[in-house]
């Protein structure tokens, strides 16, 4: 299984207690699952009770927002980087 790096940005680094994690996963969804297994406190920060990814979370596979590819089924290769980023959704009052 490919070894990939997950980089946690902004508030998500606080929830995991670090900015970087290494996991083995074949897809973006698999990488997120492996991350949550390691850091259970992240589960409710990333997903709602029905398993849907929360609003205001952007997930990138390297430089591609996963929605522009195959979502959580986006395949990963050895050395890929998955970014979990607070979505750029400022301006709300």
């Amino acid at each position: 299984m490919p070894a990939v790096t997950i980089r946690l940005h902004g508030a998500f680094a606080e929830f995991a207690g670090g900015r970087r994690a290494s996991v083995e996963a074949e897809t973006v969804g698999g990488a997120l699952a492996a991350l949550v297994e390691r850091y259970p406190a992240l589960r409710e920060r990333l997903r709602d009770e029905h398993g849907a990814l929360r609003e205001h979370v952007a997930v990138f596979a390297n430089e591609d927002e996963m929605g522009t590819r195959e979502g959580e089924r986006t395949p990963l290769r050895e050395g890929d980087v998955v970014h979990i980023i607070p979505a750029l959704s400022g301006g709300r009052i």
């Binding site: 508030a11 929830f15 406190a41 709602d48 009770e49 929360r54 607070p86 709300r92």
Partner: protein
């Protein structure tokens, strides 16, 4: 014997601020903000164990969560989220109110959330179960969101009967249980609707509801259409708006010892700011039959806004009265409202004010 101490828990748009004082309530030490920059809709002290504080942190990034402190708000642990059951088309969006249960149920805590629902914890806030009888109430299809969304924002626990609870939902109105949450009835009788609904009891717009902490049956609410009082086993609310400058407002507090005394901050119904001549607390000492304007120490002419959860009393004698404003001020009275002094200014918008008396 330890001298009593007081703290004000101030939930703001960007975190929870805590102000602590001796019983004199003349000087306040500031702590926080905790959880900044996330909005804190409510924080609640648990007088049953004298150590727990609960906070409703409604984060944009990472979603809503409930935080639990066992040391009066100095350190915090994240609880499991309230969660709608599998198959529900509802998703937990934010927490509006956290209410310690009856004194005879020391581990029970209640959470009012959005979308409008009630959750119960039996382990002092660590985990939550939905109260399905209210969450799936037959009248739910008739509930519609108010300006803040469709939320359950008020939980009143009867002083004597742990099975008797009264909740406020915007915009649905008041619902009540006499069997600890197994069944719920519409409790809107006596209140007016802002809409032409005829005799229907659906669609009332309760803004904030409180139950008296020591007198069974006493309920008090600030509604979109006025201030209403209910005593004892009465089944209808009595309109007690006469004497106030406006029917409209959000904040409401009840005196901790005197069951005939309560406080509101009337607002202009369109501007949602204090009407001329400016910000004031109104106090009744006769269950709303008459009202007195209290503004000593408050800025003259300031048309400030006070949100639904932003006024509270402490439990000392004489009682302290506190409120916060959306322009980031916190005001305190150590003499039951006769005079006020400023505790803080330039905070982020204040969303909630509650107290610790320990």
């Amino acid at each position: 014997m330890t001298k009593p101490r007081v703290a004000i828990l101030v939930g703001t748009k960007k975190g929870l601020h805590v102000f602590r004082s001796s019983a004199s309530r003349s000087r306040w030490a500031h702590e926080g903000p905790y959880f900044a920059p996330q909005p804190v809709y409510h924080a609640s002290f648990d007088p049953r164990d004298g150590e727990s504080v609960y906070a409703a942190v409604n984060a944009t990034f990472g979603g809503p969560r409930i935080e639990v402190s066992r040391d009066l708000g100095r350190t915090w642990t994240t609880a499991a989220n309230p969660a709608f059951p599998a198959g529900s088309d509802l998703t937990f969006k934010r927490t509006w109110h956290l209410e310690p249960g009856h004194a005879s149920q020391p581990n029970v805590l209640w959470a009012g959330v959005e979308p409008a629902a009630l959750f119960r914890s039996d382990d002092r806030g660590i985990s939550w179960q939905p109260v399905r009888a209210i969450n799936e109430h037959a009248e739910r299809p008739h509930w519609s969101p108010g300006g803040g969304g469709l939320c359950l924002h008020s939980v009143g626990i009867d002083a004597a009967d742990p099975g008797w609870m009264t909740v406020g939902i915007s915009a649905a109105g008041v619902y009540e249980t006499r069997d600890g949450g197994k069944s719920w009835t519409n409790g809107n009788a006596g209140t007016r609707s802002p809409l032409p609904r005829g005799e229907s009891l659906l669609g009332r717009c309760v803004h904030h509801l409180v139950a008296h902490p020591t007198r069974s049956g006493v309920r008090f609410q600030q509604n979109h259409t006025g201030v209403y009082w209910r005593d004892g086993t009465a089944t209808r609310w009595t309109d007690r708006s006469a004497g106030l400058p406006s029917d409209y407002g959000f904040a409401a507090a009840i005196h901790p010892h005197d069951d005939a005394t309560a406080y509101v901050v009337p607002l202009h119904d369109r501007l949602r700011q204090a009407p001329p001549p400016g910000i004031a607390v109104y106090r009744t000492r006769d269950r709303g039959a008459s009202w007195k304007r209290l503004a000593s120490g408050l800025p003259r002419g300031a048309q400030l806004e006070v949100m639904r959860e932003s006024m509270a009393a402490d439990r000392l004698d004489p009682a302290g009265i506190y409120f916060g404003t959306t322009n980031g001020e916190v005001w305190a009275s150590a003499d039951e409202g006769r005079s006020f002094s400023q505790v803080a200014a330039y905070l982020p918008a204040v969303l909630s004010v509650s107290t610790i008396t320990s």
